[in-house]
Subunit: 395 residues, 2 copies
């Protein structure tokens, strides 16, 4: 054997990456060649972050506060997050229940630390691409419980029963949902927690979009006395700072300690200056996310309306976040071909539905969080392509 | 089964963390209670970073450039790193040979993507704690090749032969070395590369301290045409910005693509503002690291001198970096007890030797990169404790 035959590990071979980052890189190549692309593929909010957030980061940098710090996160940030859960959600969270970490890292680490290779995990689908990539990498068997499009992809007791009946090691749940914008009821989430608690099933509750739910009250599953429930969240979307790469988990102290060890081993710690920025952001979270909710309620509803008017494309009206998940209902075309033609012929980048599960090869996700004129133009071009394609089929 | 019996995975159970971060947190607790601690446990350089580095980060933040970017790193940073390898090391490195990532993450991911559970890996010991933590987490069998203290922990052809004879999946090599400060010869590193290339063994060459070698010429193993060699490096030490959490790997394009996928899946991408800061740093790397080399040559040599004068403690004179690895030669005490007494009785934090391998329970590592008066005072107190302990033994 020589160096050119050297093999990656089974986990290395199973690392497949995320389709949506591939779309981003393809679009960027077009731009490097001088083209212009409307980016509706990533949830990359380009709004100004909350007042004080970036400024606090800059002040920290001016002090050259660029050393190592606590692996699990700055105590002041963990305390501020805990207080937010006590105040806004009446939930008995303390510093010991919080670890600071990039959110994608938390998803990967939760699955890696709580599930063994060959175990099964349940996703309610459509489901966020990172879940699929992480499960494939770790070697988990994904069992799908598809949520009904006709019910706006809401989660029901029957869906929970179907998930628990599969006897998985863990269930991933995502309310408010990416990509559908659905927000699940308190009643069904409590039922999920109870059923999994009895059955000894881990839950990862991804609540990244919880603070930008506008069409239905958001309910957090955070409950530190329920050891089986791990809640995770990101600052990327609620503070419009995806480049800060910061999020957090809320869970029982021993689970938090394990996740902190993972940060310590793989990342050592996270920057002090980004963490202190988020402390400032949390001081004005209600005002800031209030403005976001108002904005996204308006833009998402306008997008959904003009999409559904086509009678070719179809989407549920989102109750949260800044995506619309579109069924290419009236078209005889798969998602990859549609996305590629949309990028090449109309200079609009969107995410193929299969990123959210193999059953969604006839869907696309449109992110509506960019500058509104550009988002609207991107949606209009998407509709125009659909009409051309539908015309071609009819002819 | 109920939620309280819920188990972590085998990998979760095997996540043991790093001893040196535990010392840091214990020391911080003393400080929170009002005490003062001299920190010689972590390589946390507190010098001002290169001119322009922090300023470029701040300018990027002022532009609100806080969105997502390329998973594998900003092209301009990858190109600048590649150029550095071409100019300084006459090594045919291009952008396609470089991925940007936190260095500890690269160590973990290299082992996870290139070795399967149960495989053996060779460490030349003493070896950096992250290697041990990563190997334990992944389930790798660590085979040690102990380097001779009497030769200043230099790497020899016989050591290489011993390592290859164990037929491991991968060998980790670290020149310039943490904790010993040894720098290996070009001749022995080329021999290592040749032997492993023939035998089909991956090499991870950790060159984090290469640019601060002062006592012997540093040789990089970077050679993108040698697919089995993965070089990794960190900006933490050479730019005094450990809180930036940035490093990079240099390797064959398909290995880089795999490591980039790992960043994409687990971290999405890294901040634009820290990456642009490091681009500025690289413009003045020779002047900046020249000053570091001069400083550390002086302080390390002074520390080694007063330590060896004791005839109780013993260390090799480092040729690189900012650590001295000290044998508690004349003392009948283990490293943990010594470290604890040093912290509790003398308010000085150092790292126990066992962090670098089970054979070093009679050693400590002292980091000399802090403010010199404080470092000197810490070393003086360490020596004073040793004399007291030696006196007590003699009495």
């Amino acid at each position: 054997m020589d160096q050119h035959q050297l093999k990656f590990s089974a986990r290395g071979d199973a690392l497949i990456g995320q389709e949506m980052f591939k779309v981003l890189e393809r679009a960027r190549k077009i731009e490097e060649a001088g083209g212009t692309v409307i980016h509706l593929e990533l949830g990359n909010p380009r709004l100004p972050p909350p007042p004080g957030l970036v400024e606090a980061t800059i002040e920290t940098l001016k002090r050259y506060d660029v050393g190592y710090t606590y692996s699990g996160g700055l105590p002041v940030l963990r305390q501020t997050i805990a207080k937010r859960y006590r105040d806004a959600h009446h939930c008995a969270v303390t510093e010991a229940n919080v670890v600071v970490s990039p959110a994608n890292f938390l998803i990967n680490q939760f699955l890696d630390l709580c599930c063994d290779r060959g175990d099964s995990v349940v996703f309610f689908t459509p489901a966020f691409p990172t879940y699929w990539a992480a499960a494939a990498h770790i070697g988990l068997r994904v069992e799908e419980v598809a949520l009904g499009a006709e019910r706006g992809y809401d989660l029901t007791r029957a869906d929970v029963d179907a998930a628990v009946a599969k006897r998985p090691r863990a269930i991933l749940v995502n309310s408010a949902n990416n990509p559908t914008g659905a927000v699940y009821s308190r009643e069904v989430l409590e039922y999920l927690s109870d059923r999994c608690g009895e059955a000894g099933i881990w839950i990862l509750s991804d609540e990244t979009y919880g603070d930008i739910a506008y069409g239905r009250p958001f309910y957090t599953m955070a409950e530190p006395s329920a050891r089986h429930v791990v809640v995770m969240c990101s600052f990327s979307k609620i503070f419009s700072v995806p480049g800060y790469r910061l999020g957090f988990a809320v869970a029982a102290p021993d689970v938090i300690a394990k996740l902190s060890l993972s940060v310590s081993t793989q990342l050592s710690c996270l920057p002090i200056f980004t963490q202190l920025g988020c402390v400032e952001g949390l001081k004005v979270i209600d005002e800031y996310t209030g403005a976001l909710r108002e904005r996204f309620a308006r833009t998402n509803s306008e997008c959904a309306e003009i999409i559904n008017e086509t009678n070719i494309l179809r989407c549920a009206a989102p109750a949260a976040g800044f995506y619309v998940f579109v069924d290419l209902a009236g078209l005889d075309i798969d998602d990859m071909t549609f996305c590629q033609r949309l990028l090449d012929e109309c200079s609009v980048a969107v995410t193929p539905g299969r990123s959210f599960g193999p059953a969604y090869k006839h869907h696309i996700r449109i992110a509506t969080c960019g500058e509104w004129p550009s988002v609207r133009e991107g949606v209009v071009r998407t509709i125009a392509l659909s009409r051309r394609l539908a015309g071609a089929t009819a002819a």
